[in-house]
Symmetry: C2
Amino acid sequence: MWRLFQFPLCPFSRKVRLLLGEKGVGYELEPELPWERRDEFVDINPAGQTPVMIETQRDLRLIDSQAICEYFEETVAAAPMITGSAESRAEIRRLVAYFDQRLYAEAIAPLMRERMTRRLDRQSPDSGALRDAMRQVGAHLDYIDYLLDHNRRWIAGPALSLADLAAAAHISVADYLGGCAWADHQSARDWYAGLKSRPSFRPLLAERMPMVPPYVAHYDKVDF
Amino acid sequence: MWRLFQFPLCPFSRKVRLLLGEKGVGYELEPELPWERRDEFVDINPAGQTPVMIETQRDLRLIDSQAICEYFEETVAAAPMITGSAESRAEIRRLVAYFDQRLYAEAIAPLMRERMTRRLDRQSPDSGALRDAMRQVGAHLDYIDYLLDHNRRWIAGPALSLADLAAAAHISVADYLGGCAWADHQSARDWYAGLKSRPSFRPLLAERMPMVPPYVAHYDKVDF
């Protein structure tokens, strides 16, 4: 059995979990707060980040969310998520990198700092930093609207792909932390509602971060 | 013919160029300074980053260094760089992500800021920030030493891989900017000397960043 080292609001672990859910790969959760830099964890992953996946019986270790997704894409045929022509596959990977790097650094990480890390530290958020983070989430939801409005059924084209799972993983963390002004983003909202209703999403919506309850009542509702 | 939008000290473009060189894929260089945020460039790549590759005749656009590398790995059989078992391929991708994210953010980007951006702006480096950046380069060279000293001929295992090209791309920028104290890193030095002598490396070593000559005389020498 695979063990997945993660914490409930880690967007990169959520991306991996959505992929595993779509593919029907089972795993057990191992709680890991990477900012505590537990010695045994840093020994396994010098980057000190979640997710990490370990399969003890076969002595397998997978590190880095994109390396993990590519591994399961190569080894599990069900529910392929990097599909189509070489150009389509490049577009999927471009968008995954965009969400994992730009969306995360500009919007999700600052929002997590203000509404998760500070709460764990029993501090109040910095209202200016929080406002900036919310504005950045909005700008990225605009980009998701734009992608969906330009002849795409899904984020990267006609088929559900890893780009949708990556975007939804990050957006789900923003939504948990009350960062999504859905009324301004109808296309993104319809897309996200569709994803929320998939079985792969349900375990994520049922989970709670210790000490940090969801900021919005609609977080786990398919209608919102 | 492919056109590659880049600037000479962009480590991500260097990674792509090393891969294209190994695979024998031809391309023309298009100078692009991403921090100028040229409108036409940002329209092509909303992330605003180099490298971008365009093939006008076939109307192809490739964006994001890792998506570009995966594209050529999938479409050009020569000189495969993500090879071996699924676990080996995951280890190669883990290390590429490590160098592109951690090495870059912690060491290469700060060094570029102090020794490239500030020079382009006709400012002096901040000596404290420069010292920190140099120390970070050293810490990452320690990690490269460690990888090479633990039963690996190359960074990710017995074969040359994209992990070597990614690491060497970043390290070559650090070396250009005088950031590598080679005397302390014999294993990394031998490895880097081997890479520098490959034909794929020569175009990079011959190039100069406008206004920013190399900080060390050994930059383009195979013996250093």
